[in-house]
Symmetry: C2
Subunit: 165 residues, 2 copies
């Protein structure tokens, strides 16, 4: 299966596409979409949306995993990040891709076996899980690859549970 | 000039289009886009986005005024509303419409002369300003019409200041 992970942000949006074939995970694409904080918000949202749609069209994932956003009081980046997460969900829905949201703790648990793992640890584990060939772009794209892997694991588990029943 | 106002929300998104000709304000369109809280967020965002794009295409406003969203801790509707505001900004940017954001206080000040005016007061004043022919849909669409009027007033003032210089 092929899954696209998205770590929402308006200044830096992490994107990663992972393939799973016979238990082997491969990084198909890794990218960090960036926009300038000084530019109009509409222009930035438009740019990010177009780029997400491009990546979806190019790699045609079977599912999209988006990091669930939370309200953090007094965070300057909270509003743009939440707006960016809306775009990610919209881009997937527009193209009919199934979407799942995972919290940062769920993703970290799946990747590093610890829901409170540090960024660096997640990045290291993502690279290990993908045969050393990924996680070299930014912490944002490493998180996106982590979300894709998290979704692949979750689907595998779901299938195993179905089989066991 | 013709301005479209948007009061962002995912369960209820207020939309209003106002024309100003020789100082007279007319309500051209008023609508409340609604989605079901139980449906998947992506589906709901998609529906709202498509409807916004439809209204923009039908009424072709010269500018779009969107209510600025704020972080409210412990608010269940904050995340969907902020995601919806991102869509409104995206829809306008995609079609190249100039966008301005106004805070609720700025809109209330422009409509009711009081930045802390009650919903009912805003609705009453919006109806008065539009010759009694509007503000009958929902508080959300009344706020949207209020945002459009707020932008028209703000543009008028901007022009007067330019002329005075």
């Amino acid at each position: 299966m092929r899954v696209m992970g998205i770590d929402p942000g308006l200044t830096r949006m992490g994107v990663g596409v992972v393939d799973e074939r016979a238990g082997t995970l491969t990084c198909v694409h890794e990218e960090t979409i960036t926009t300038q904080p000084g530019d109009p918000v509409g222009t930035r949202l438009n740019y990010v949306f177009d780029r997400l749609v491009d990546v979806m069209g190019t790699f045609r994932p079977e599912a999209v995993a988006v990091e669930r956003v939370f309200l953090k009081a007094n965070s300057k980046t909270a509003i743009p990040s939440i707006q960016a997460s809306g775009l990610a969900l919209l881009a997937a829905a527009t193209h009919g891709y199934p979407v799942r949201e995972y919290s940062p703790a769920e993703m970290k648990m799946a990747i590093a076996g610890n829901g409170a793992a540090e960024k660096q640890q997640v990045r290291y584990m993502v690279r290990q899980l993908l045969g050393g060939k990924a996680g070299d772009d930014t912490p944002d794209s490493a998180d996106a690859l982590g979300l894709a892997i998290c979704h692949i694991n979750s689907s595998r588990m779901g299938n195993l549970i179905k089989l066991a029943r």
